[in-house]
């Protein structure tokens, strides 16, 4: 059984796509008995989802051309 601190230190690994089944099981059994850590896991997951779902900022207009003409001058 993980302590809350060990749970926190396992969070990164838990979100890793290749997380070991053992880590997943340990984390999941901790959050089943610890409401605070359940909230932390849930809101961290949502934090990552929201950031991943963001469209990238559009490139400022003209930046590509400015880079290319600066490169041309270097040639």
């Amino acid at each position: 059984m993980l302590t809350c601190k060990e749970f926190l230190n396992s969070l990164n690994e838990y979100f890793d796509d290749n997380a070991a089944a053992e880590i997943r099981a340990l984390v999941e059994s901790h959050i089943n008995t610890c409401p605070n850590c359940w909230v932390i896991l849930d809101t961290t997951r949502k934090t990552l989802q929201i950031y991943k779902g963001m469209e990238p900022q559009p490139l400022p207009p003209g930046l590509h051309d400015r880079i290319m003409s600066a490169l041309d001058k270097r040639k």
Partner: protein, 206 residues
């Protein structure tokens, strides 16, 4: 070389052509990565004009240093390394008194322990326009120290592996992991302040 021909080549083939003097091939690499490099720069230096300078300088520097690219890493990782250095230099110039470094020592106090623990509205992102949401997310990143910004962006937004991030930032893998955890927890904390379900108070969880 025409767009149709360069477009299908892999990065390394383009690098070879660019090394041989084909600026069009390098232009294709610019097209491939400018949006990601801009996003990275924008989130490290915050000011749009600074971010543009960083992107332009990074590509110019990459082009002039191309001969020193060893090809044992991915071109993009190498490019990120140049761009992050440019971004940090820009920050240093802005905050001349304060050193900005990738390995600022991390305090080992209790401050990474979550303080704000509250469930969120069911889909908080749908309550804001894209513009508002972007502002919220950018502001939260801006509150992080620069190194956390870079690690979080590269790992969680740009999708680099831990190893690639370590290489791009010239940090050890354990250093990346600890910074990533702290960045994630700090962002979670900031967003919780905004997205938490109204009516809940933290005392319910103490």
């Amino acid at each position: 070389m025409h767009q149709a021909e360069t477009g299908s080549l892999d990065d390394l083939a383009l690098v070879h052509q660019a090394k041989a003097g084909d600026i069009g091939a390098f232009g294709e690499l610019v097209s491939r990565y400018e949006t990601r490099i801009y996003r990275l720069a924008r989130n490290i230096v915050a000011l749009p004009q600074d971010a543009e300078d960083v992107v332009q300088n990074a590509f110019l520097k990459a082009y002039s240093k191309l001969d020193s690219f060893q090809e044992n890493s991915k071109f993009y990782t190498w490019l990120v390394r140049i761009a992050v250095n440019e971004a940090l230099m820009k920050l240093r110039r802005r905050k001349s008194s304060k050193t900005v470094s990738l390995d600022e020592p991390i305090d080992t106090g209790q401050d990474e322990l979550p303080r704000e623990i509250a469930v969120w509205e069911s889909t908080p992102e749908s309550q804001y326009s894209q513009t508002e949401l972007r502002e919220i997310l950018d502001k939260a990143i801006d509150d992080l120290p620069p190194i956390y910004r870079a690690v979080f962006l590269l790992r969680d937004v740009d999708g680099l592996s831990t190893e690639e991030t370590a290489e791009a930032l010239d940090l050890s893998i354990p250093a990346i992991k600890s910074r990533l955890l702290r960045a994630r927890l700090k962002l979670r904390e900031t967003l919780t302040g905004i997205f938490k379900r109204k009516g809940d108070d933290i005392f319910a969880y103490l």
